[in-house]
């Protein structure tokens, strides 16, 4: 892991990506610990819709809350949803993709058809239905995004897994009589880390976008805990009143996604077996 981090830092876009994600994580941690300039939930009644100033760096919102503190908590919320949903999708998708490639035959057929059903189902509507059934909120957003993204992960894993299955070192393992579990974890899974890591960063970017979209439709995180998407949605009708309420969350979302995409690109270059082989 350390090796990947150091080479990531040397990669030009990787460096920028890491710096952005670092800032994001820092803001999220501070937000969780409550080390924010003001209490994000406290209403400063007299200071409603104030422009960015010394006391309120990013200004205040309609209810008089400090936008900067809310942004920090918002980052935590959006990151939490993004990481949680992508984690679930990665684990579920990898297991399905791996087993479906390894077993092949009817299992492959069944798994892939189920994945097709989820993929054919319009993504945003699947999210809407899940949220309508269970009620909006953080956990539902996580579930909705995870369910929509799992089939994509399954496909991303199944492709390379199929080609890895043909590789000589898997045949070699068979000649030793290595157990199926050993081959699946040490040989297939370990070599899937490269495509997976790249897909995870792209999925995180996508998850941030989707959370923002769901909040825009009023189905994402629910007040009073802010998420970036919710702050964007709340600022929608105040666009002319208080443009800063929209600009800062929008830029933060873009920056976050940019950070994930940059890191993803850098990882793709670093982990790409072709580049590795040239180095050897």
């Amino acid at each position: 892991m350390g090796k990947m981090m150091s080479s990531l830092f040397r990669h030009p876009s990787g460096r920028i990506g890491l710096v952005i994600i670092g800032l994001y994580l820092l803001a999220a941690i501070l937000g969780t610990l409550g080390l924010t300039p003001h209490d994000p939930l406290k209403l400063f009644a007299i200071d409603r819709l104030k422009a960015p100033s010394q006391t309120y760096w990013f200004g205040t919102d309609l209810l008089g809350r400090d936008a900067f503190s809310r942004l920090m908590v918002g980052i935590r919320q959006s990151m939490l949803i993004a990481f949680a949903s992508v984690a679930i999708a990665t684990i579920a998708g990898t297991i399905i993709g791996l087993l479906s490639a390894w077993w092949g035959g009817i299992w492959d057929g069944i798994f892939m058809r189920v994945m097709d059903v989820l993929l054919a189902f319009p993504a945003i509507l699947l999210a809407l239905l899940i949220i309508a059934i269970v009620g909006p909120g953080t956990m539902t957003s996580v579930a909705a995004i995870a369910i929509v993204y799992t089939p994509i992960f399954a496909r991303v894993v199944r492709g390379p897994a199929l080609s890895l299955k043909q590789r000589d070192f898997v045949d070699a393992a068979r000649t030793f009589g290595s157990s199926q579990g050993y081959v699946l974890t040490r040989h297939l899974l370990l070599n899937l880390v490269a495509p997976l890591v790249v897909q995870v960063t792209l999925a995180l970017a996508w998850a941030l976008l989707t959370e923002a979209g769901l909040s825009f439709l009023g189905l994402g995180t629910q007040p009073p805990t802010p998420s970036l998407g919710l702050m964007l949605a709340e600022s929608r009708n105040l666009m002319t009143h208080a443009p800063w309420l929209m600009i800062f969350p929008a830029v933060t979302i873009m920056l976050g996604i940019l950070g994930f995409n940059l890191t993803g690109d850098a990882l793709r270059d670093i982990l790409d077996p072709r580049t590795q082989r040239r180095e050897a």
Binding site: L41, K42, L43, A45, R48, L62, L63, G64, I131, A132, G135, P136, G218, L219, Q222, P223, P224, R236, N237, L238, M239, T240, H241
Partner: protein, 505 residues
């Protein structure tokens, strides 16, 4: 849902001048009004539809017997005059000779009788049926007169008839069962075409009893995003628009060439408590909450100042000045005293609210959460999709609920469903109270207007003092128009009937 009582009931009776056609000077060339709103009608059957957006459309196509003017007085519509018997148990209407349906046929007493029979028939599942249970029989001595015989003295029934839910439709349509699809009404406009959630095209109804219109039609576009409506107004693609969100409404005056019409409405924003769930069954706790909240700050923060503090009664004729209602000035010390007295040192509860319905619901919940925290009440906000919220609300399955309920010109139809023993929605308020129940019954039967005001003001004071709900504010209904549009008079009921006098350069 929107029945209204007259300012002075009996005085109105005397006024029976048949409104002859009002023909303002006709502009040279009648133009077409391009209108926009964010929520579209959900159906065309006036007896069945209850959503605000549906009523706005149907009020232009159908007509009830009587209507309410901008000052909430009962004025003639299809009926040119009406008369209550001494014991208020029979009500006679005379039909305006000019009243015609859009297909040219005259409106007769048979149509009125058929319409009310359809209303009362359970098979129609008309929501407004509960307001007309007192009708025993309907007589039609001749084409122009209709007599309603009531089982009990029911003064508010006249106001109940002044809503589109009591619209009159051709008897033939009722037999043919095409009421929901063919919109044949006697209103000022005829529905040419309807693409749900996209566009309605209305044309002026030449046969309208109310006379000539200044415009020859309206096309209404459905723009779900209200900022898009504003942009469309600004770009001149729309002449007139109905707005829901106060935040967007406050932007209109700042735009060159746009005007905002604003009128106080009878609907009220309220924090409904659930007295059946401890500790809210304890009166002192409820009173403490009423004293703890600062209603004006909620208006300033959540509604961007667009509202005014109100007690339970929102209609000017009956409402008392909120200042002398129980604890309408925020008094934290008294609130803390009451809490201490109640023996409950703070509790946690969830408050439900519907996302976007009304648009300010989420902000109100957050301000209330902050204010109630001052006296140790830890509120958790649970936002819900509209229908999920309605489901929970109807079942009374909530600790607290941020709501915006419909108001009426007469207190009886407004609150009989919640605070009378046999009210249909008694299980929503969960507050059976004999005194409130008897006051309601007296108000229904009392014919003398002065006495009715006294009765209902006592009813209002008790509600404020008992605080089963915390009444917060009343808002405004907004319409925006370009300079080229003139002549629109907004109404507290939110109806767009004022469009009949509108003209466009």
């Amino acid at each position: 849902m929107n029945q209204f009582s007259p300012k002075t009931l009996l005085a109105g009776l005397a006024v029976a001048t048949a409104l002859t056609s009002v023909s303002a000077a006709l502009p040279a060339q009648a133009a077409e009004l391009r209108m926009a709103w964010s929520q579209d009608a959900t159906g065309l059957d006036p007896h069945k539809q209850t959503a605000f957006s549906s009523l706005r459309l149907l009020e232009l196509i159908y007509e009830p017997l009587v209507r309410l003017d901008a000052d909430l007085n009962v004025v003639p519509a299809i009926a040119s005059s009406w008369e209550f018997a001494e014991d208020a148990r029979t009500l006679t209407f005379t039909i305006d000779s000019n009243a015609k349906f859009s297909d040219g046929a005259a409106v007769t007493s048979a149509d009125v009788k058929a319409s009310f029979e359809r209303l009362l028939d359970e098979a129609t599942s008309a929501a407004a049926r509960s307001n007309f249970l007192s009708i025993e029989s309907i007589d039609t001595p001749d084409d122009a007169t209709v007599v309603f015989n009531l089982s009990i003295p029911d003064v508010p029934i006249l106001v109940a008839m002044a809503t589109i839910n009591a619209a009159v439709m051709p008897a033939a349509e009722i037999e043919a069962g095409t009421v929901g699809t063919e919109a044949i009404g006697s209103g000022p406009f005829v529905l040419e075409s309807w693409e749900p959630n996209a566009r309605e095209v209305l044309s002026a109804n030449e046969n309208w009893g109310g006379g000539e219109l200044a415009i020859d039609g309206i096309t209404i576009s459905v723009l779900p995003d209200e900022m898009a409506i504003l942009a469309s107004l600004r770009a001149g693609q729309t002449d007139f628009a109905l707005l829901n969100d106060p935040l967007v409404a406050t932007l209109v005056p700042m735009e060159a060439g746009l005007e905002l019409n604003r009128v106080g409405v009878l609907n009220y924003n309220v924090l409904q408590l659930n007295p059946s769930r401890p500790p809210m069954d304890n009166l002192l706790v409820r009173q403490a909450m009423s004293c703890a909240i600062d209603r004006q700050e909620i208006i300033d923060a959540a509604l961007a100042g667009e509202g005014k503090v109100t007690g339970p009664l929102t209609m000017p004729a009956f409402a008392q000045d909120p200042a002398n209602l129980f604890c309408y000035e925020q008094d934290l010390d008294r609130a803390k005293e009451l809490m201490a007295e109640s023996g409950v040192d703070g509790f946690s509860a969830t408050v439900i609210a519907a996302t976007g319905e009304p648009p300010v619901a989420a902000s109100e919940a957050q301000v209330l959460q902050a204010q109630l925290a001052e006296i140790g009440i830890d509120l958790e906000i649970e936002m819900m999709e509209l229908n999920v919220y309605v489901d929970a609300w109807l079942a009374g399955d909530f600790d607290m609920a941020v709501a915006q309920n419909g108001g009426r010109p007469d207190p009886y139809p407004m609150y009989n469903r919640y605070f009378t023993k046999e009210g249909n929605l008694a299980h929503v308020s969960n507050f059976p109270d004999d005194e409130l129940d008897s006051l309601m019954k007296q108000g229904q039967a009392e014919t003398d207007p002065a006495k009715r005001v006294e009765i209902f003001q006592a009813f209002e004071s008790r509600l404020a003092e008992q605080s089963p709900w915390l009444w917060l504010s009343t808002g405004y209904s907004y319409t925006a128009q370009r300079e080229s549009v003139s002549g629109f008079t907004p109404s507290p009921t939110g109806t767009l009937f004022g469009l009949v006098n509108v003209s466009v350069e």
